[in-house]
Amino acid sequence: MRLDRIWIVARKDMSEFRTNKYIMYSLVLMPLLMALVLPLIYLTPFTMFAEPSDPFEIDFEEAGIMIGKDVQGGSYNNITFVNCTLVDVVAVNCHFEGCELSNSLVRTSVLANTTLRDGAIMRSNVLNVTFENAVASDVRTLGEDGEQEVFLKQFINFLLLFFVLIPAILPTVIASYTFVGEKLNRSLEPLLATPTTDAELLAGKSLSIFLPTMLVTWLSFIPFVLLVNFLSAPVIGYAPLPDATWLIGVFLLAPLFCIMAIALNVVVSSRVTDVRAAQQLGSLVVLPVVILFAVSLSGLFALGPLTMLLLTAAVALVDLGIMSLTLKTFRREEILVRWK
């Protein structure tokens, strides 16, 4: 394959896209909607109403330490208890490690590996604490996300799936205009009469769809990351993006979905004579991505780097199959004799 020839075809097609308002609208509006508008709409309420989930700052100045003692009644400030049993105590600004507390009141303290029975705890940081009939109010769990953090992370994952969806949708719009457009305009015949191989022509035309699609996808990913971090960091306590899972998703899986969409749309375009019909049939390519959405939201599997890599490998395999079908479809003979 001659790369210069592929590039000539791609450049010509891209200069045609610039004059097609439908393609330009899609290239600009869809990423804008998915990268900026939707995150703004959905994440802003979290920022406005969610309470910060950072651990409380507890002003602790150790005044004493008790290890392995049974403590009955009393009020304690700035004491560290290790492996103690405490009954009927009031503890403020204390640290508990491996303790058992019964009928006690704990405030602005830190508790780890501790059991709390029939008492109350307020405005404290806890780690691996068992509550048995105890009342807890305003407790921050250390080392694990709260409900709103979990939900927010899931929601960010949901928004990130758009970056796999965009490369699947945009080729449908562009390919329907290029392949079906060229077919209707009968401009493929003189092109096929040039000293170029079928594979070079197909590669050039596919590249002209792939480049703008991935360019807008990746370009819109940058403001998306900044916006999501800006909106969610105060809630989660750290900037969640970019993470390894979605770096694989956006930079490996998304281009493969884009290739799949282009290849399928070439096959679809060979069978239809109407741009809208091509778009409708071609849009079926988003089905695998939508299934991915659904499965991800249902929580059937967690989207981690390994899952994403496995998914990427699976899509790569499917791509190889579809591309060989496309190569069979995009042949001079087929185009002139069988393309309807």
Partner: protein, 307 residues
Amino acid sequence: MIETHGLTRRFGDTIAVDSLDLKIRDGEVFGFIGPNGAGKTTTVRMLCCLIAPTAGTAYVHGLDITRPEEALMIRGKIGLLPEVPGLYETLSAYRNLDFYAQMYDVPKGVRAERIESLLKTLSMWDRRDDPVGKFSKGMKQKIAIARALVHEPDYLFLDEPTSGLDPEASLTVRNYLLDLKKEGRTIFINTHNLDEATRLCDRVGVMKTGLLAVGTPDELADMFWGHTTVVRLRRAVPGMAEVLRSLPGVTGVRQEGDAFLVEVTSPDDTNPLIVRALVEQGGEVLSMGELKRGLEDVYLRLLGGKR
């Protein structure tokens, strides 16, 4: 040279081109005439290596159209004007030509110069930056012709070059093709326009799935009718037809009013005898000439028409 040997193409059970044997010399303008569906476009597509023959083969510039690597070389040597111009409507005339010049590997330094020359020759230079979609059918056809010539091909295939054009645009295109003919390019024209074929083509092939006849327009006419002398008299009298029939070299006589259509084997030998015989019968000869049979007569005769 273009040569075909038993070139055949079937589409399912339908035979589009049947065992075509043809030779077109370098620098010749060859016309294909025939009804719709006669296989003309299919033949051109096979010769341009766009579709493969079912049987037989063809050589363009000595290269075999059935060999993929040679097909690529053939495509570099030919220019094709398809039935529909098929231009990129949103791109300018110049950009259309520039794209094809690149596809045909026209060197960068030569490209601009050649495009300018073609557009000026076809009176389209002033519209070079306009989108092709705004052009009339004739203007688009001119750009499509320029596209077929942008790489200065040795062989030019034109499928219905003046189809659907108004008389003025047809004339411009035809005159340009005559100029190309003078340059010595090998040109293959598919046309329904018999007058155009007569004016432009050195030889014509009448096609209907297979090649029915091939030759110069005159040769084709001679093939069916020989020579016919037309004599117009002031007044024809009874008995003249019989006298003419009795003359040596006369193969047939038909009377139309005061005129006689005399079929002769050799006009040079027989025409003086005809004049003398008619004068002796008291006839006054007003005019005498040879009846020219046109390509239309040949076409209709071959394809089952009345003439």
